[in-house]
Amino acid sequence: MMLGAGDPLLSGKIDLTVVLIVIGKTVAVFAFLLVAVMLYIWFMRKVIADMASRVGPDTAGPWGILQSLADGIKLFFKEQSVPDSADRRVFFLAPYISLMTAFLAFSIIPIGGQVSIAGHQTYLQLADLPIGILFLLAMSGLGLYGVMLAGWSSGSKYPLLGSVRASAQMLSYEAAFGLAIVGVLVQAGTLSTRAIVDKQAWTGVGSLGTWYVIPAFVAFVIFLISAIAETNHPPFDLVEAEQELVGGFHTEYTGIRFAIFYLAEFMNLITMSAIAVTLFLGGPAGPSLGFLSATGAVNTWLMPVFWFVAKVMVLLFGTVWLRASLPRLRYDQLMDLGWKWLIELAFIWVMVSGVIIVGRNEGWNLIAVVPLSLLGGLGILGVLRASMPNRSELVEEIL
């Protein structure tokens, strides 16, 4: 299996130009993500400040836009302390695990459409893996190690609690997260992000209906909730919960290593928003400027990227809003929400949408089959519910 098998760039002869284009795309995506994080942090601080009747950062650069850069430079030159009891090797390694997986996950995102660079046709996307979505799941699973090992290797109590929370939280939400994605995959019939985006391509206002947010609305909601939990974003930020665990897993980190965790966290947030856009909101699909040539630079390069960024921005604004206003859930409530609601709902959804798709292909009577499958799903759920131990009964048993 070749990397980026779907990309027309790599289907022909691979010469120096192709290699240079790939390197150029890698650097561009790297820079895009770094700049996006920088701007997102600034944007977040400005919006939260506005919601709280404050001014926010306003000194570094125009409207304080360089604040994140200034913070980064400051953190880079700060002293880095390592606790005596830390497992030094793991302690140094952990931030880079987080950072690496955060970067890699973004490589499968289709940022724009098909363009021509130096006579070669290529996608505005770093890698179009045939297993695209699985790669994302793998990376977000590996990202957990960064957080878990950081807390464990600090040799301190608060980080340890934070990392225990992190492993439990990310593992349980990985399930709901994966199932929500399956809700789209059964409809799209492919794992490649490019193919999924192509199925939602813009052909007029009517193509809004092909965006999976509409046929897979339940999956979209589950995806949003579990993605927020997966990235440890408020109101699910138990892992760092400043008011409870001081800083959670990164309590003992200082200087650039702390900055790397910070960076990785926001990269994951941007990646998750981008994935949501790719899977549910059509990715770069959107109306192009009709008065310009359909093959001109504006409509092939700029407009798809514009639509992609705009959709991501809308989702990111939502995350900022959550961060500003909601109280944090408690650990057991978070687990309840994940295991007792989201996973079951996602299962039923996958079952029903699977039945619809198979039924359509086989020519079944959908009106009869769909309620039946729904009932079946609910029945299984009921059995599961009944077999679950009740927490208050458990406590009574112990006492």
């Binding site: 919601m51 709280a52 225990v164 409870e244 206003s325 909601l326 109280p327 944090r328 859930l329 408690r330």
Partner: protein
């Protein structure tokens, strides 16, 4: 560590016969090599010292003993504080955790002890207000009021009407600012970050009004024995009524943001429950007591100042959990606004302090004209006034509960003993029983809704 080094060595080596057997030099050296790193390791652990937690068997929770711990029964002792984002200053909570569950908790205090009660014995009654105002720095005027009331009880003076109503208005404004601060920090402790800034925003407006009237935002030293430091400035009605509207708008916002919020309710309803009996046993007062269904508010039950002449309600609820303590403080602000409005409407004219040259200083202009006034002024601010011998106890309802001041005078210009009953100190005792068996996140909510001010706890 409560053990001596020798006992420790014995424990480590398991040698109960003591040093008698250790005649052989080589053996000693070998033993040292084993012991030294072990000692070093142990000495690095945070010693409990005299702060040992109660034995597990003595803990009674939900009517029964603590259940057997699951798994290998290992617990972890974690120190929350004195440096921790949500221990409201320098409270230290020693908590034994079984996973995320608090098995037992013990508040450790004294990190802000500055000996203010002892200092009070070295200050004249005129200077005393500057001292007590720094105890509960979030509601300084209540402290000043209780101290001034105690001194006036000993002096047996009758205050002019205007002074009484002015005091009432100031104390109620202060209660508003204190409860707003609670809303801010409580929101932050639960993770609702913007709530913190909303609370501070409205509180700042109240402090601005207090600054217009008293000249300072905090530590006013404005309510003094014999009356107040100054009369109300021009335009005070507009400032006070204006801030009342701002506060009401703010409270409506908080209500909308939090009260019906499902996450907020799931975090607070049924968390940190305490009963009236437990409150009585621990002499807990204020919103914590009122949340258990017992409408005890000194402003109603034992009216002081002119609280019997204003119309307001005592807010109380029945569940005694964090949610109720949050709601009580939310709605008490509205009652205080009601009182402040009535004070503005009914503010009587007349003098703002007792016209007794031995107690209150002469007006500045008189000092230039009258030799006698100059002497009074000089005497008052150097050695203060003399208070008849005796002892007294005064109490008022501060935002946190009953604040009391016990004064003993021997007839000189300084008290022999001054003791302040800080409600935070007593309310802090409720934290341990509330926390046991709850989760770490609940511990934060419980500390927060008990609203301790460490300056008042340690005095």
């Amino acid at each position: 560590m409560s053990l001596t080094e020798e006992e420790l060595k014995m424990q480590i080596t398991g040698d109960s016969s003591g040093t008698d057997s250790g005649d052989d030099v080589d053996e000693d050296v070998a033993e040292q090599a084993v012991i030294a790193p072990e000692l070093k390791r142990l000495s690095r652990q945070t010693g409990e010292g005299s702060q040992e937690l109660r034995p597990l068997q003595e803990i009674v929770i939900a009517g029964g003993p603590w259940p057997e711990l699951e798994g290998d029964g290992q617990t972890m002792i974690i120190n929350m504080g004195p440096q921790h984002p949500s221990t409201h200053g320098v409270l230290r909570m020693m908590m034994e955790l079984d996973g995320e569950t608090v098995v037992r908790a013990k508040p450790v205090i004294g990190y802000l002890h500055t000996g203010m009660e002892k200092t009070g014995e070295e200050l004249t009654y005129v200077q005393g207000a500057t001292n007590v105002t720094r105890m509960d720095y979030v509601s300084p005027l209540s402290n000043e009021l209780v101290f001034a009331t105690a001194v006036e009880q000993l002096l047996d003076v009758e205050l002019p009407e205007r002074a009484i109503w002015m005091r009432m208005m100031l104390v109620e404004l202060n209660r508003i600012s204190s409860h707003l601060l609670f809303q801010a920090t409580n929101g932050m402790d639960m993770g609702a970050v913007n709530m913190m800034l909303y609370g501070w925003r409205e509180r700042e407006e109240v402090l601005r009004v207090l600054e217009i009237i008293t000249g300072l935002r905090m530590n006013h030293n404005f309510i003094r024995p014999g009356g107040l430091a100054a009369d109300l400035p021009d335009g005070w009605q507009e400032a006070v009524l204006g801030v009342c509207e701002q506060v009401e708008a703010g409270i409506a916002d908080y209500d909308k943001l939090l009260t019906e919020n499902p996450i907020w309710q799931s975090r607070t309803v049924g968390v940190g429950v305490i009963t009236t009996e437990q409150c009585m046993a621990l002499s807990i007062t204020g919103p914590v007591l009122r949340s258990t269904g017992f409408p005890w508010d000194l402003r109603k039950t034992q009216p002081y100042l002119a609280y019997d002449q204003v119309d307001f309600d005592v807010i109380y609820t029945d569940n005694g959990d964090c949610y109720d303590r949050y709601r009580i403080r939310l709605f008490e602000v509205l009652e205080s606004v009601k009182i402040v409005r009535q004070c503005v409407a009914k503010m009587p004219g007349g003098d703002y302090r007792v016209q007794d040259k031995k107690i209150t200083p002469p007006p500045r202009a008189r000092i230039d004209e009258s030799m006698e006034a100059l002497i009074h002024h000089f005497k008052l601010f150097t050695e203060g006034f003399r208070v008849p011998p005796g002892e007294t106890y005064a109490r008022v309802e501060s935002p946190r509960g009953e604040i009391g001041c016990y004064l003993v005078s021997d007839g000189t210009g300084k008290p022999v003993r001054m003791h302040v009953r800080g409600p935070s100190f007593y309310n802090l005792q409720a934290i341990s029983p509330m926390m046991e068996g709850r989760m770490v996140a609940d511990a934060v909510a419980i500390i927060s809704t008990c609203d301790p001010i460490m300056g008042e706890v340690d005095r």
